[in-house]
C-alpha cells in the first residue's frame, strides 16, 4: 500500500524564520517518486520538486531545500528565511511506476509579517 503522512496540519511562523515541513511515506516498491506541490489560495497546485528513489542527494533551490532519507522514509521540505508569499498549503506526494499519485493531507503554512 502507498501512503503519505504529513503530521503537521498547520504551522505559523514569523517572517524570516526557517520552517521545515515533514513528510513520511510508505511503499513496498523499490522504484518510486516523491513530489512536493504548493497550493496557494488560488487553488492551483504548483509543482516544486520531484525525486526518484535512487537519488538521495539533497537539493537546494534558492530558499527551498529538500532532505530525502530512505532510512527513515522521509522527504522533508525546508524554507529558509520565510516570506509572506510562502503562505500556502503544501502537499507531499508519492508515485510508483503505476499511474496514480498518492497525496498527503497537506500542511497549511502561514507566514506572519
Amino acid at each position: 500500500a502507498q501512503k503519505v503522512t504529513q503530521a503537521q496540519t498547520e504551522i505559523s511562523v514569523v517572517e524570516k524564520e526557517d520552517v521545515t515541513l515533514d513528510c513520511v511515506y510508505e511503499t513496498r516498491d523499490t522504484t518510486y517518486y516523491l513530489f512536493w506541490y504548493k497550493q496557494p489560495p488560488s487553488g492551483e497546485l504548483v509543482f516544486l520538486i520531484r525525486r526518484n528513489s535512487f537519488d538521495e542527494q539533497n537539493e537546494i533551490s534558492g530558499r527551498y531545500s529538500w532532505n530525502f532519507q530512505k532510512s527513515t522514509s522521509s522527504f522533508n521540505f525546508t524554507i529558509t528565511a520565510s516570506q509572506v508569499v510562502d503562505s500556502a498549503v503544501y502537499f507531499c506526494a508519492l508515485a510508483n511506476t503505476g499511474n496514480q499519485f498518492y497525496f498527503g493531507t497537506g500542511t497549511s503554512l502561514t507566514v506572519i509579517p
Binding site: Y33, F35, G43, F47, F91, N99, Q100, F101, G104, G106
Partner: protein, 116 residues
C-alpha cells in the same frame, strides 16, 4: 496560456442535476488525470487517460461519474444526478508521457463544485 486550464472555475448545482467539467491539458501532453479534493484534504485520484484511452478509472466513486477524452486532448468529467457528497474541488492534471511515476503532473486551477 501554456498551463492546464479548467472550466468552469465554480459550479453550483442543485441535487439531482447533471454537471460537466472541462479540462484542457498542456498541448502535447499524452496523459491526463482527474482528482477530487475535499475540503482540508489532499487530492484523491479519480481516473487516468493516455491519449484517448481511459486506462484506469478505479478512483471513480460511483457509476454516476463518467470521464471521456475522445480526441486525446480535451477531457470532460461528467457527474450525473449530483449529490451533496459530490461537493469538492475537481482537479485536472496532465503529464508529458505515459507513465505518471516518471513524469511530473502539472495541475489546473480546479473546478469548485457545490451541490445544494
Amino acid at each position: 496560456g501554456a498551463g492546464v486550464s479548467q472550466s468552469p472555475r465554480y459550479k453550483v448545482a442543485k441535487r439531482g442535476q447533471d454537471v460537466a467539467l472541462r479540462c484542457d491539458p498542456i498541448s502535447g501532453h499524452v496523459s491526463l488525470f482527474w482528482y477530487q479534493q475535499a475540503l482540508g484534504q489532499g487530492p484523491e485520484f479519480l481516473t487516468y487517460f493516455q491519449n484517448e484511452a481511459q486506462l484506469d478509472k478505479s478512483g471513480l466513486p460511483s457509476d454516476r461519474f463518467f470521464a471521456e477524452r475522445p480526441e486525446g486532448s480535451v477531457s470532460t468529467l461528467k457527474i450525473q444526478r449530483t449529490q451533496q457528497e459530490d461537493s469538492a474541488v475537481y482537479l485536472c492534471a496532465s503529464s508529458l508521457a505515459g507513465t505518471s511515476g516518471t513524469d511530473t503532473q502539472y495541475f489546473g486551477p480546479g473546478t469548485r463544485l457545490t451541490v445544494l
